[in-house]
């Protein structure tokens, strides 16, 4: 795809050749060090993983249509939800926004030519692909039945499945996360162009920075805990199993010390994306920019201190429960600030409702509902009955799927013209966004009710009184599945037939819109103009509008 569009606002040094034009063979892609190409490699990879994880989800929802679990045996069901969890968490949600949009946009947004360590960036992708393919192969050939949480001593001494192999796969993939985080941190510190001061950075960059800190600090704990599982399984060193003198709760502490921050690895980038989209389509500077920055940093720091709220009924002391509870309430405050500021950004705006905006508004609504159900779980008195029921499933799917996936797709739509140089069908995109919002609620709202009524999670079969709500949920899932398939069609179509986008189809601010679409290999042909972030009260540089 050789974009020959020359925008009039750029000095004509040479005809801008898009980064797609620098070699088209497989080799040129597999050896690339261009952050934009690596972002596309990541996008293709995680899309495949998302489809695999989605198929597993569909199988579970079909199985749960009948109370006796007619589709699969208990063993298959247990392996299926493990597959769904492992793939979606580690191979889709965690890399989703940072490795794709973050990789593509971070250098563009700060006026850099590439990330600080381009080779390392490529290596991250290779680690990710190797870890991902290995893990998925182990999950498909034999499988694992522990759930993505690997709780001990079940995972260490009782499960007869490929626990070690999958742990190795996740372990390897963890390094790809750490290296990406490291790359982003150094890039943000060292490669901002002259004039791009910290408080001129778009919130997307702040979000990537905050999430990178969490990635670098939390992921090693996962590596540690997976190694300890291996040690206990292979060498029978008593770490977690009480029969060997170990402590099963130690595992949960270590696991959630990683996995709760991991939740913020998934949601912070989503917040970052939405903070770009809403100002653009409301034509307003984001409300409370500095508070939004502090909220991002606050969430990533306090996120390390709340892991114990996963363990209120696990046998922890009342004092510990009290401390983890109050911290969990406190971390809800920055999230609330963000919701209020997004809403306030709409005030006195000039709002239009293109597809990315619909995704972003959907994100705010679903994230808010998910967040508030999290408040209920933060109170130990309510967590006792709700813990490990479908209420928890609904809660984190509202945040992870309603939140992160909506924002990810919003970001894909928003930056699609920049990445590919093409426009997609606006009508179909809006339709998919609205369908997704309804399909999502249809799928997961009944699960809140199921949880309140006491239906436990990870049940292959369930008492018949829960059937109606389960059928509703499965019916919603089929709508949700259609809404996820639609973008494949119209986005795929746009690659070949879409209208040329021009460098700034949304009339957005941000440096990435000051270069051609798709950007040239070196990102900018002329030095972009740095101004305050979200300067929607001023005309775009180089335009008369």
């Amino acid at each position: 795809m050789n974009a020959t569009v020359i925008t009039p606002d750029l000095p004509e040094l040479e005809p801008p050749r898009s980064f797609f034009a620098h070699g088209s063979g497989l080799r040129s892609w597999l050896t690339t060090r261009d952050h934009k190409r690596i972002a596309i490699l990541y996008t293709i990879t995680i899309t495949l993983f998302f489809v695999l994880g989605g198929v597993a989800a569909a199988m579970m929802r079909i199985n749960l249509v009948t109370p006796d679990g007619a589709l699969m045996s208990a063993e298959t069901y247990n392996k299926t939800f493990t597959f769904h969890g492992v793939v979606m968490v580690w191979f889709f949600l965690i890399p989703s926004i940072p490795a794709t949009l973050g990789n593509f946009l971070l250098p563009l947004m700060i006026g850099a030519r590439d990330l600080a360590f381009p080779r390392l960036n490529l290596m991250s992708w290779y680690l990710f692909v190797i870890g991902g393919c290995f893990t998925i192969a182990c999950l498909l050939l034999g499988g694992v039945d522990t759930g993505w949480t690997f709780y001990t001593p079940f995972s260490t001494l009782f499960s007869n499945t490929n626990v070690i192999l999958v742990a190795v796969g996740v372990f390897v993939t963890g390094f790809s996360t750490i290296l990406t985080g490291l790359n982003f941190i150094v890039t943000t510190h060292k490669l901002r162009m002259p004039g791009m001061t910290w408080f001129k950075l778009p919130l997307f960059v702040w979000g990537m920075y905050a999430v990178s800190l969490v990635m670098v600090l939390a992921t090693p704990v996962l590596a540690m805990v997976l190694s300890l599982i291996g040690l206990e399984r292979i060498a029978h060193v008593g770490i977690f199993d009480p029969a060997l003198g170990g402590d099963p709760l130690l595992f949960q502490h270590l696991f959630w010390f990683y996995s709760h921050p991991a939740v913020y690895i998934m949601i912070l980038p989503a917040m970052a994306v939405v903070s770009e989209i809403i100002p653009c389509f409301a034509r307003r500077r984001i409300f409370g920019y500095k508070f939004m920055v502090y909220a991002l940093i606050g969430i990533s720091v306090i996120g390390f201190l709340v892991w114990g709220h996963h363990m209120f009924v696990a046998g922890m002391s009342a004092t510990a429960a009290l401390v983890f509870s109050i911290l969990s309430f406190i971390i809800a405050v920055p999230s609330a600030i963000k919701v209020f500021n997004w809403t306030a950004t709409l005030r006195r705006g000039n709002i239009s409702f293109e597809a990315p905006m619909l995704y972003a508004l959907g994100f705010v609504g679903l994230f808010m509902i998910g967040g508030m159900s999290g408040l209920m779980l933060a109170a130990p008195a309510l967590d006792i009955p709700l813990h490990a029921t479908y209420f928890v499933i609904a809660h984190f799917h509202y945040v992870m799927v309603g939140g992160t996936v909506m924002a990810y797709l919003g970001g894909i739509h928003y930056w699609w013209p920049k990445i590919t140089g093409r426009m997609y069908s606006e009508g179909w995109a809006r339709f998919a966004a609205v369908l997704m919002f309804f399909g999502f609620n249809f799928t997961f709202f009944p699960q809140y009710v199921l949880g309140y009524l006491g239906m436990p999670r990870r049940y292959h079969a369930y008492p018949p009184q829960f059937q109606t709500l389960n059928i509703l949920s499965s019916a919603g899932a089929s709508i949700l599945a259609i809404s996820y398939l639609l973008p494949f069609l119209y986005l795929g179509w746009s690659l070949y037939r879409g209208a040329r986008a021009g460098s700034n189809p949304w009339n957005a601010r941000g440096l990435e819109w000051q270069t051609t679409s798709p950007p040239p290999k070196q990102n900018f042909l002329a030095r972009p103009v740095v101004r305050k972030a979200y300067a929607y009260d001023e005309p775009a540089p180089g335009t008369t509008a």
């Binding site: 039945d145 001593p153 009290l322 405050v333 600030i337 006491g454 009184q465």
Partner: protein, 320 residues
């Protein structure tokens, strides 16, 4: 079973369920109010400031007070909920002094219940109404979780330690029991029921299932059969601690620590005796972790609790 139709609400069958439900519905109300409030504001903005509609679009000054308001108002509300929940939660932690203890051993994939009178049942727990019940629970293998939604109680059941849970049922009936911690293949089948009976019916049920030996007496028999009395008995020639009245006593360990002889200490001293060696004794006791089931340890413990210092082990006489 409480098999209502669609949208049957949960019965409030314990003393905790009512107050918990008040907090729950208050939270549902509060969250709905906030959500609807934000949605309405978003909706109004989207209509009023949509592109092409004439409106006042002068930039409002961002003021610190606005930001501080929506920082501290939510914080205050959250702290209020926290304190409310705290009081409720505190009540779930400590069973009343007059609570009756029933022992629960979880294993893949069943619940084994032992009543102090020696009655045993599987996947069914009979309890009297209006009497506080304390469940002392442990697991034979992996982590399980004992959950009765109608009582709003749940507690993980761990191998190698005892967790407790208490409730006071207020309505006669059958209520579903679930395992809510994923425990392997038949996790979803590891259920059962709690049968709440009137006190009179409960007493009759206990009589009907009387095996003739109380849990403590079963423990006393095990104490001899497994050879414990050979060393710990009054006439033993081996130098081993005297265990009469051990429960609750302060024990000095060989490594200088002092511990209270609670459930976990006694459990570990039987199963993994090398973990905590009593000062002045050689670590010669073999580990019984492969020898005894958790149910048997509970019986031994019931026996040890029934002994008094300086008395000969009581057998049948320990039954009340």
């Amino acid at each position: 079973m409480n098999s209502g139709g669609f949208f049957h609400l949960l019965p409030n069958a314990s003393t905790y369920a009512g107050p918990e439900d008040v907090l729950w519905w208050s939270m549902v109300g509060l969250c709905s109010a906030i959500a609807i409030g934000v949605f309405v504001v978003m909706f109004v903005f989207c209509i009023r400031y949509r592109k092409g509609r004439p409106a006042d679009r002068t930039l409002a000054k961002e003021t610190l007070p606005v930001e501080l308001t929506w920082t501290f108002v939510p914080l205050t509300i959250f702290m209020g909920i926290f304190v409310w929940s705290l009081f409720l939660y505190a009540g779930t932690r400590t069973p009343p002094a007059d609570a009756e203890t029933i022992y629960v051993v979880a294993k893949q994939w069943m619940w084994k219940i032992q009543h102090p009178g020696g009655q045993r049942e599987i996947d069914t727990l009979h309890v009297p109404v209006d009497v506080p019940i304390r469940l002392m629970m442990t697991s034979q293998d992996v982590i399980h979780s004992f959950s009765v939604p109608a009582f709003r109680v749940k507690q993980d059941v761990l191998p190698g330690r005892y967790t407790q849970l208490w409730f006071k049922a207020i309505e006669v009936g059958n209520y579903r029991l679930y395992c809510t911690q994923y425990c392997g293949l038949d996790h979803s089948k590891m259920g059962g029921k709690v049968i709440v009976m009137s006190r009179k019916d409960y007493a009759r049920w206990l009589d009907r299932h009387d095996s003739g030996t109380s849990l403590a007496a079963q423990g006393a028999a095990l104490f001899r059969a497994k050879g414990c009395s050979g060393c710990h008995g009054a006439n033993a020639s081996v130098h081993a601690p005297d265990l009469d009245g051990i429960y609750g006593r302060i024990v000095h360990l060989a490594d200088g620590r002092t511990v209270a002889a609670d459930d976990r200490y006694i459990h570990d001293s039987i199963m993994l005796p090398d973990k905590q060696v009593v000062a002045g004794y050689a670590p010669i006791m073999p580990a019984f972790s492969g020898e005894l089931t958790e149910s048997q340890v509970l019986a031994l413990m019931a026996y040890l609790k029934s002994t008094r210092p300086g008395t000969q082990p009581a057998h049948e006489s320990t039954r009340r």
